[in-house]
Structures are given as structure tokens and as C-alpha cells.
Symmetry: C2
Subunit: 82 residues, 2 copies
């Protein structure tokens, strides 16, 4: 099981409701790829969203994001944590 | 109190020990800026490190990272969380 962090850009002005809605869309289908979206953090000023997940691979995470209409601009598996 | 996420690049091959050492260096002086470094995630393959912190501002977080020799390449306050 891999932990991944992904980054979405261009989300300037994102609201708490929009972040929640996007997260819920991911949660609704995440099991189809064996993924779990743990947490997301957003900066509406720069339009940056960071998303932490676990799953078989970063590719599996990206497939869910693609299907829910918000593919990540960058995604990396992060095997080291402190 | 603001939550910030920052990104360090160019850390290809970073080890668990190096990540821990960098984190400890930040922790050792974080109080001088009223900052707390909560967690970091690293991808040695791409050399990317993500770092989550709280403090009075992203600038305060960056000042600690600068003093410990690893300024962030990107840092954003993330007022929205889900």
C-alpha cells in the first residue's frame, strides 16, 4: 500500500463547499481502485490543493481524480514520513 | 494561526535518516518563530518533500527552513481542509 501526495493547481477562489464536494466525489468511487483519500488542504489565493491518499499506486489515485473531473497536476508516492 | 504546506524539490535520493535530521533541525528552533512542524512526506525518486506546519504565517515557516539550510521552493497557507 502506497501513500501519495498530489497537487492540483488553478483552483483560485475555491470555497470550503467546493473542496468538500470534490473530496466527496473522490470518496464515492475510491474503492473501485482500492484507494482512500485521507485529507486535502487548499489555498484559494494561489489556487493550490494538496491531497493525501493511500492506495496501490499513485496511478490508481490519479485514475479516480480523472474520473471525478479533477486530475492532479502532479502526483508522487511518498514512502518516507516523519 | 495559519496552517501551511510547503514543497522542497531536488532532494533525489533522500533517506529516512536525512528526512528525520532535517525535521529535527526545524523542530529545534521552531519556537523562535512560533511555528510547529507537524509532518513531512518525501519521495526520494523525484526528490520532492512536502511539509505541513502551523504558525503565524507561511513567511515565519520559511524563515525557519532558511535558517536550517533547506528553504522551501514553494509555500502556501492552506486555510481550507477536508
Amino acid at each position: 500500500m502506497a501513500t501519495s501526495m498530489d497537487v492540483h493547481r488553478g483552483m483560485v477562489g475555491i470555497t470550503a463547499d467546493q473542496l468538500m464536494e470534490a473530496h466527496r466525489a473522490d470518496l464515492a468511487i475510491e474503492k473501485e481502485e482500492g484507494v482512500h483519500f485521507q485529507k486535502a488542504w487548499a489555498d484559494p489565493a494561489s489556487g493550490t490543493v494538496y491531497c493525501l491518499s493511500t492506495g496501490p499506486s499513485a496511478d490508481a489515485v490519479q485514475r479516480i481524480h480523472q474520473r471525478t473531473g479533477h486530475a492532479a497536476d502532479e502526483i508522487h508516492e511518498v514512502p518516507l514520513t516523519v
